[in-house]
């Protein structure tokens, strides 16, 4: 029975003179999202509202699911259109609407009419009270509550008359592409896809880098990362995934540096490489899935030591979250099941039994000196062999 959706957006409403940029971006993203759905749709922006109208038969569930991936949407209201054929007829349509959407008809409600077309014979107040009467008459179980109703029954008088009362929560945030671009360090784990999602939610476009270490990590591990990027790209739009072969760098560090510092030094080189690609691709920051204290390389001391090799800001949206909170989001955005597939990633293959948890920056720098002879060449080779995969 629904033939359109009214899209509610909260935050971009407050963006002052830039508002139209955000609204245009949101319309664009909505168009992308409904393009994935069966049926044809028209997306329009009028008088501070965005409508998604179905022009053909469509799959309600599928369309809602796809709209739920569009950052910037705070609510999705399924709308019923009726022709304006007089007030009598409107009363009948409303009764039918209430009967279908609330079959038990035992809720409290409030009618909220809006006249976009001011030549309608009744004003908003009149519509409110008269429609209220019609509903009370038809459904004795319904009661009016103007302060906190269960149902806010919206009636908008335009060319046609729009009726809606349900609000399906959207993901919130800001439309993709309104906030610049950042480089996500994507592993096969639970955290990094969530970190990418969270920054993308603020309107940031995401590119990603994955460190591949054949033969220590397999083609399947790489495929898993591509799959994760694809799941995240549902929200973020296309992701440019850079696959960097890290094996030789890793082995060289292993050869030259103390084993308990391997992970930390390795991460410093990952950050350096990620930053290099980020700068070349006009990214304004790096994103990692780090959370304080989760593993040895994510203590405050370790984070400080990895952080100091970068000049770009490093965004760590999960920094204060517990694992379970992260898992909740991973489940919500559907990356969890893929993340827990058991393929080894390059952070774990050579991990020492007791890696340092409180690395000293001076000591780490001194040990990195052991790498002077070949490391630059190795990093250069790795960058030259950057494999770019466009994930969408």
């Amino acid at each position: 029975m629904f033939t359109a959706f009214l899209i509610k957006y909260a935050e971009i409403g407050v963006k002052g003179k830039n508002r139209y940029i955000f609204e245009e971006a949101l319309v664009q993203q909505i168009k992308y999202a409904v393009r994935r759905c069966e049926g044809e749709f028209k997306v329009t922006r009028t008088q501070g509202r965005i409508y998604v109208e179905a022009l053909t038969e469509f799959d309600f569930e599928e369309t809602v699911d796809n709209l739920k991936t569009v950052f910037g949407i705070s609510g999705i209201c399924p709308v019923v259109y009726v022709e304006d054929e007089g007030f009598e007829r409107l009363g009948g349509d409303i009764v039918k609407y209430v009967g279908e959407v609330y079959p038990d008809a035992d809720k409290t409600f409030k009618v909220n009419a809006r006249r976009a077309r001011k030549n309608y014979p009744l004003n908003s107040m009149e519509i409110n009270s008269r429609i209220g009467e019609v509903i009370l008459e038809a459904y004795p179980g319904m009661r009016v509550d103007v302060h906190s109703p269960d149902i806010m029954l919206n009636i908008e008088i335009r060319e046609k008359i729009y009726i809606y009362s349900e609000v399906i929560p959207g993901p919130g945030g800001m439309p993709a592409g309104t906030g610049g671009k950042a480089m996500l360090l994507l592993s096969g784990g639970i955290d990094s896809p969530v970190a990418g999602y969270m920054i993308a939610k603020r309107g940031v476009k995401i590119d990603a880098v994955y460190f591949h270490a054949p033969p220590y990590t397999s083609e399947r591990a790489k495929q898993k990362v591509v799959d994760l990027a694809r799941l995240v790209s549902r929200y973020t739009g296309p992701i440019y995934l850079h696959v960097i072969n890290f094996t030789d760098i890793q082995l060289y560090i292993y050869e030259k540096c103390p084993h308990d510092e391997l992970t930390i030094i390795m991460r410093r080189y990952m950050m350096r490489i990620a930053e290099h690609i980020a700068k070349e691709t006009e990214c304004l920051g790096l994103i990692t899935g780090e959370s304080i204290g989760q593993v040895a390389s994510q203590t405050m001391q370790s984070l400080a030591v990895t952080n100091e090799v970068c000049t770009l800001p490093v965004y760590r949206p999960l920094i204060g979250m517990d694992k379970l909170e992260i898992v909740d989001i991973a489940e919500k955005i559907n990356t969890y099941e893929t993340s827990i597939l058991p393929y080894e990633d390059c952070c774990t293959i050579f991990v020492a039994k007791h890696p340092v948890t409180k690395p000293n920056p001076g000591v780490i720098k001194r040990h990195e000196k052991n790498l002077e002879e070949k490391i630059e060449e190795l990093v250069e080779t790795a960058l030259e062999n950057d494999e770019l995969i466009v994930v969408r």
């Binding site: 054949p214 033969p215 990590t217 397999s218 082995l251 050869e255 293959i349 050579f350």
Partner: protein, 384 residues
Amino acid sequence: MEVYLDNSATTRCFEDVAALMTHIMCNDYGNPSSLHLKGVQAENYTRYAKETIAKLLKVNEKEILFTSGGTEADNIALIGCALANHRAGRHLITTAIEHPAVMQTMRYLEDQGFHVTYLPVDDKGRIRLEDLSRAMRGDTILVSIMHTNNEIGSLQPVAEAGALIKKMNSRTLFHVDAVQGFGKFRIYPKKMNIDLLSVSAHKIHGPKGAGFLYVNEKVKIKPIIYGGGQQNNLRSGTENVPGIAGMAKAAEMVYADLDLDVDRLYGLKQRFVDGVTKIDHVKINGYTGRESAPHVVSVSVRGIRSEVLLHALEDRGIYVSAGSACSARKPQPSATLKAIGVEKDLLESTIRFSFSVFTTEEEIDYTLRALYDIIPMLRKYARH
């Protein structure tokens, strides 16, 4: 150079088999149950396939049941016989090193109230007949023993076990999972007292999705799949005509020069074993000579995780398996390797090489050279 040494996981389809199947799918695509000519043509393929397979096993063609593969054949054999014979008893016997298709089906039957005895194996992966005879009870309705182990290539004394079972209890059924043995050995169920025998097509250069179960006509068995009543009601569902015809063709081809091919495989295996054992701290699991399968070698390489060695070989175009391909999905140490007492450090350092008629001496030598290169290099970076 591409060297495929994972033939226990699956094999390359013979081109003649693929051509036959394409022809059937595009031209003779009828449903064998249809009454018209197209149906009859299709039925001719399945009839011919039955004849071919029955002849190879020296059994009656009515005793061949087509399935979707080895796993389904094992499931029908075990569950079908358990369902049909549970009044005679609720005890089953199998070995500790069966393929999951048997092992997990046994676990299911345990949940259904059956009792299962798992026979241990010696350090070469063979059961002892004394253990079998001790495990046999008055209410043992079925014994299931694999012919050839998929991970280490050990052979079970199937004929002796068959004789022993029938001597102790003529009503006990004997099932043999011959997925790895068919196409490498001549297996004659009637002579070996085998009542049920599972085979898969894609292990013998046939297509995936096809297999068969030999069911001795005297066996009481119930279907586990219901429907249109095809194949004497025992396995409903339209027959996979191209798969069945392809399987029969492949079987015909592997048995055409069996002795020659098997001799050659044993030669290749010996060449490989001689070469690989020159490397320090490398151990072969199970027997290597004629007491073992001609096409499987299980090698433990101390200090290197199997997955890493596998990918390093892959990098040079050599495809092998870590443990067994089916267990590569869940990273648990292999039950077979544990059962033959492989020490803990080596459980995750074991690689399986498996050969086929397509394997050449040149490929074996190329693989050995790769191992001579890779193993010392990987050992340098062992995890501490």
